[in-house]
């Protein structure tokens, strides 16, 4: 059997014996595993297999009752078929490796595809007829994997029944090749989502025994708030600043805004070589945004202001929708959630960070009202169900 090192990528792959490099073959280990299967590794009879088992038991009783070797032969054949089926089923899964590669973020209420990558590290037999049972469940606040978040963000919706699904490997997977099976999942709520590969099962080859593995593979991802479509009522999307002159800001336009120090990730094409040579430190060009007018999104999560949970969820959805809309128009300057610090939104990763914050937001403590400048967008509830987005004193959007 091929060693683990042959698997390209090598990262996050698991197999029937769990993650990591598979130990070498040893008869002792094999025989012991037949007597005492590893944890999470079991073989159960399918309905036809159960019928065969009952048939086998009846024939065994008849064989002992009548000392008929004809019946003993039949029992031997049936038992051998069962054992042979189990052996081939074990061989079928032996070389299979899998890993989960979910997208970085999903969106609540929308279908998403979670790919499960498969690799066959075996050499001789192809893998066939393998099914995978996956589950997605919300991670409760403070759960595993959430410790790297700020304490106020460790609050996430949870306690709901996990979403489960089954996908199957269509056709065969030849040795040394890979495949991908896709699981369509629709997360119900925003927050952190834990996607687990709960079970790998196969009834190959005869459908008499189902071999089930319970792998420990799980990954976490973020679910952004459900999309909302607020009605834009303000004129601020079209008009320019009343003062007349646009205030330049950083963006992706063609005009030079300033020079700044090089940061990892900057394109080498942006390096200003003359200034770099003159100053002795690596400087890059900072272009100005095409549209000069922008908004700072301030999302107040004060629990007293948003006592109704559904209205709070609406707030986050509308905020996410406006943030994406402003970013597409090049007008999103900065973002702040609750009492957290505001951060500039210059690139897509900044927007994703803002959406991550919205995904994990929870009603928080009282906070001072933000300054009501014209470029600052705030939200207030309207009625029992709606809300209004304000740009200064102007109604920007309503839902």
């Amino acid at each position: 059997m091929a060693p683990e090192a042959q698997i390209p990528g090598g990262e996050g792959w698991e197999g029937p014996r769990g993650p990591g490099r598979r130990p070498g073959f040893a008869w002792r280990r094999l025989l012991w595993s037949l007597l005492c299967p590893p944890r999470g590794n079991r073989v159960v009879p399918t309905p036809p297999g159960a019928v065969l088992g009952v048939l086998c038991a009846g024939l065994t009783a008849a064989a002992y009752g009548s000392a008929s070797n004809i019946l003993f032969i039949t029992v031997a054949l049936l038992l051998t078929s069962l054992v042979l089926g189990g052996l081939l089923g074990w061989l079928n899964l032996r070389g299979l490796r899998w890993r989960l590669r979910p997208p970085r973020a999903l969106r609540a209420g929308q279908d998403a595809v979670v790919p499960l990558e498969l690799r066959h590290a075996g050499r001789f037999l192809p893998v066939r007829c393998v099914g995978f049972e996956l589950a997605a469940r919300a991670v409760p606040a403070g759960g595993a994997g959430a410790s790297d978040l700020p304490a106020r963000l460790r609050l996430a919706p949870g306690g709901e029944a996990p979403v489960t699904g089954r996908v199957a490997l269509a056709g065969r997977l030849d040795p040394g090749t890979g495949a991908e099976v896709a699981w369509d999942v629709r997360p119900a709520r925003r927050g952190r989502l834990r996607i687990e590969l709960r079970r790998v099962c196969s009834v190959f080859p005869f459908g008499l025994l189902r071999r089930e593995l319970s792998p420990s593979l799980a990954v976490e991802t973020i679910v952004w708030p459900a999309p909302a479509e607020p009605r834009l009522v303000g004129t601020g999307f079209a008009r320019r600043r009343p003062e007349g002159r646009p205030r330049p800001r950083a963006g992706v336009g063609s005009d030079l805004l300033a020079l700044r120090a090089y940061r990892p990730g900057d394109s080498p094409r942006q390096v200003h070589w003359k200034a770099t040579a003159r100053t002795g430190s690596l400087l890059v060009r900072q272009p100005a945004a095409e549209a000069a007018e922008g908004y700072a999104l301030r999302v107040c999560t004060e629990a007293a202001r948003w006592p109704r949970p559904e209205q709070f969820e609406l707030l986050l959805s509308v905020a996410a929708a406006l943030a994406e809309d402003f970013y597409r128009r090049g007008r999103l300057q900065s973002f702040a959630l609750g009492t957290g610090p505001a951060f500039a939104v210059r690139r897509l990763s900044d927007l994703e960070r803002a959406l991550d914050c919205l995904a994990l937001a929870e009603p928080g403590p009282p906070m001072p009202a933000p300054a009501g400048g014209g470029e600052i967008v705030t939200f207030t509830p309207e009625g029992a169900r709606g809300l209004v987005a304000w740009a200064g004193r102007e109604r920007l959007a309503v839902l």
Partner: protein
């Protein structure tokens, strides 16, 4: 990135016709088991086979079956079963016929997963029943074929379901025509399957089949053997009609009718061939009562059988004698009769499993309560075959006959009732010289007279007229069969004043040169007579049709005579397989299991000792060779051995034990693709403004990923790529000249 595959892959569309084919084969295998069981399905079996075969070959036929057939099928089948059971009053044959009907019906519609699983179980039931009822070696072949087809069917069902659960309930609409039925014929399907199957898959299938056979054998040998005595099973719910020639009442011609059958009736294993007598007379039943052409077992003789016993062991008459205690294992085929064929008195008789039977020591006979429905194996120790069967009790009564009539059964059975017949018999006896000279002399004279006067024929003609048929034949000069000869002798002996009776059974047998066993066929069925010989103190066997040999001795010279003409025909080959089946499989019990284990251990120990001795001897020779003075020839040999070893090692290292699907016949194509991939990796993709480089990259990409039919010249493409890699100042090699 998947490698190019040289063969088409198995498509999901290939599986339903394969499943249909396997289902038809399973049905045919199940139905054909009726051929070697005695279940009466004379019309049903051909009908079911024809329907199954027709539907198998023409998958469109089920779509033409009217819907009303499917609506009424199960009620009608159940009604037929109830009627059959009511008429026949036997459960198992009715169940078998019901099973055949259900199998036939399953083939009349398009099957889903559930119907296919039902079909497997229905066919398996037929195979098991046939095996239990017949104990035939054909069962092994049948079971293996059935097992292979059933596992194939299960594999196809699993492949069809893929990794997910079976879709829906698995129940098919029996009339909705699947798409595969409309596409192509069986020839195209077989061509497609052969294209899909490669050597690796065939090897895998063969390996699985070998593993199945080996595993079955191993499990069969390893299953612990003990009998629960719970009293099962199928042979209790079926009765079998035995051959009428070996029953308590035999009419003239019934034994001769059996002789027309060439089938095996009895197979005999003897652990000491020297104990085999020259004249083998297998006595089954003694018939002393005669009325108008029918011999019967009289109530007096019936009373000599002991009470009915349920046991596995029957002791003999306890006399022992000087007979060699050879062990005879007899395999009596089903349908021969409930009376066991025995050569004479014995020391011990042991059945493989307990039987209900009655035994008679003075008659040296054993009768089972029921006709065995399957092969019956039993072992007899210490046979004492001989010309005279001792009967001290009858001798004592015979000697007391002068003192007056005794209560109980008469000593002599009555002659035919007609005075004319008695007078005719008396005339013949007078012609023979009466009872002068004793029983042995009378037997010799009477047998000679009968042989002189009558020929042998299996189709005798009995002259018409009044009176007893045997007497009429006796007075004629017509040829006759063994029953007429034996019956005539019995009547003549009685007319002469000697007690006499008819015996039916088998005479002789052929020595199988392959299995070294005796095979007795139904064509060896025979009838002879036994005459009470006061001087010998027992019943003297008289066979009017046999050559006048004085004694039937035993011993090595006699055994040599028996085995001198071994049967080495094709039939004997098949019979030897049957004997192997009976010896090693059917008779396998706890003792055999222990003996096998001991034999295996002994063989392993012997093999280990031999291997150790051989290794020591080889090492000794090698050491002596090494210590001997070296010369050029020895150095060459040593160098050759070392070089060969090195070559083998290098070959071993060279062989990649990688069975991934390789390029196969498309090796060149795969090599070109690999080479193109290598060149694509070498060329710097950053230089985008070089049209020559772009053109070369495009060619390489076509070679790497495109269809082979549209390839540019690979050699030219690689040469262009090589030129691009060369530094600008360096000329190409072919330009140097």
């Amino acid at each position: 990135m998947s490698r190019p595959s040289p063969r088409p892959r198995l498509d999901p569309a290939d599986l339903p016709p394969l499943r249909w084919l396997l289902g038809g084969l399973l049905s045919l295998l199940g139905i054909s088991t009726v051929l070697y069981t005695d279940v009466d399905a004379g019309l049903l079996m051909p009908f079911a086979a024809v329907v199954t075969l027709a539907v198998l070959l023409r998958p469109r036929l089920p779509s033409r079956v009217p819907r009303v057939v499917h609506t009424l099928a199960f009620p009608v089948i159940l009604g037929c079963f109830a009627l059959d059971l009511w008429l026949d009053l036997e459960l198992l044959p009715s169940l078998v016929r019901l099973d055949i009907l259900l199998l036939t019906y399953r083939n009349l519609g398009y099957r889903g997963r559930r119907e296919d699983l039902q079909l497997i179980v229905l066919g398996l039931f037929l195979v098991i029943v046939a095996g239990v009822l017949s104990v035939s070696p054909t069962f092994a072949v049948h079971l293996l074929l059935y097992g292979a087809c059933a596992l194939g069917m299960l594999l196809v069902l699993t492949l069809e379901a893929g990794g997910g659960p079976p879709e829906g309930t698995g129940v098919a609409d029996v009339r909705s025509v699947p798409a595969w039925v409309r596409q192509g014929g069986w020839r195209a399907r077989f061509r497609r399957w052969f294209a899909v199957v490669d050597a690796r898959l065939a090897l895998l299938g063969g390996t699985v089949f070998v593993l199945l056979v080996a595993g079955t054998t191993l499990v069969f040998l390893s299953l612990p053997r003990f009998q629960l005595e719970s009293g099962l099973f199928l042979n209790r719910v079926i009765t079998k009609k035995a051959k009428s020639g070996f029953s308590d009442s035999v009419q003239l011609g019934e034994v001769s009718a059996i002789q027309l059958d060439q089938g095996v009736a009895l197979t005999v294993d003897v652990d000491d061939p020297g104990a085999v007598p020259r004249d083998l007379y297998w006595r089954m039943i003694v018939l002393d009562e005669y009325v108008d052409g029918t011999f019967r077992l009289s109530s007096a003789l019936r009373a000599q059988f002991g009470p009915e016993r349920l046991a596995a062991l029957q002791p003999g008459d306890g006399r022992g004698g000087d007979a060699r205690t050879a062990a005879w294992t007899l395999y009596l085929e089903a349908g021969v009769g409930r009376h066991l064929p025995l050569l004479g008195p014995y020391e011990r008789l042991r059945f493989r499993e307990r039987q209900t039977f009655r035994a008679s020591a003075p008659l040296a006979l054993v009768a089972l309560r029921e006709d065995p429905v399957a092969m019956l194996a039993f072992r007899v120790d210490g046979f004492r075959p001989g010309l005279v069967l001792p009967d001290p009790a009858f001798l004592a009564r015979w000697e007391r006959r002068e003192r007056g009539p005794e209560p109980g059964a008469p000593l002599q059975a009555a002659l035919p009732g007609s005075v004319r017949d008695r007078l005719l018999l008396r005339q013949v006896v007078d012609e023979l010289g009466g009872s002068e000279g004793g029983a042995a002399d009378f037997a010799r004279r009477a047998s000679a007279w009968l042989r002189d006067r009558h020929g042998y024929s299996l189709s005798p003609v009995i002259p018409p007229g009044p009176g007893d048929p045997v007497v009429r034949w006796l007075r004629s000069r017509e040829a006759g069969h063994c029953e007429l000869f034996a019956g005539s002798f019995v009547l003549l002996a009685r007319a002469a004043g000697f007690p006499a009776r008819m015996v039916t059974g088998f005479r002789g047998g052929s020595w199988n040169g392959y299995s070294n066993s005796l095979t007795v066929r139904n064509s060896d069925a025979h009838a002879w007579a036994e005459l009470f010989d006061e001087a010998a103190g027992g019943w003297r066997r008289v066979d009017p049709l046999a050559s006048p040999v004085a004694d039937a001795g035993t011993g090595p010279e006699v055994a040599a005579a028996v085995a001198a003409q071994p049967d080495r025909s094709w039939e004997a080959r098949w019979d030897s397989l049957r004997v192997f089946w009976y010896r090693r499989i059917v008779s396998f019990d706890q003792r055999s299991q222990v003996e096998s284990a001991r034999g295996l251990l002994a063989a392993a120990a012997a093999w280990f000792r031999e291997g150790r001795d051989a290794a020591r001897a080889s090492l000794g020779r090698a050491a002596a060779w090494w210590r001997a003075p070296w010369d050029a020839g020895r150095l060459a040999v040593a160098g050759g051995v070392a070089g060969g070893g090195l070559l083998l090692f290098l070959l071993w290292r060279r062989v990649r034990w990688d069975f991934r699907p390789g390029p196969g016949r498309m090796g060149r194509e795969a090599a070109v693709r690999r080479e193109a991939g290598r060149w694509l990796g070498r060329l710097d993709p950053g230089v985008a403004d070089d049209p020559e480089r772009a053109a070369v990259v495009a060619q390489l990409q076509r070679l790497r990923f495109g269809a082979a039919a549209g390839w540019p010249d690979p050699a030219a493409s690689f040469q262009r790529a090589r030129r691009l890699r060369r530094p600008p100042g360096r000329p190409a090699r072919f330009n140097r000249s």
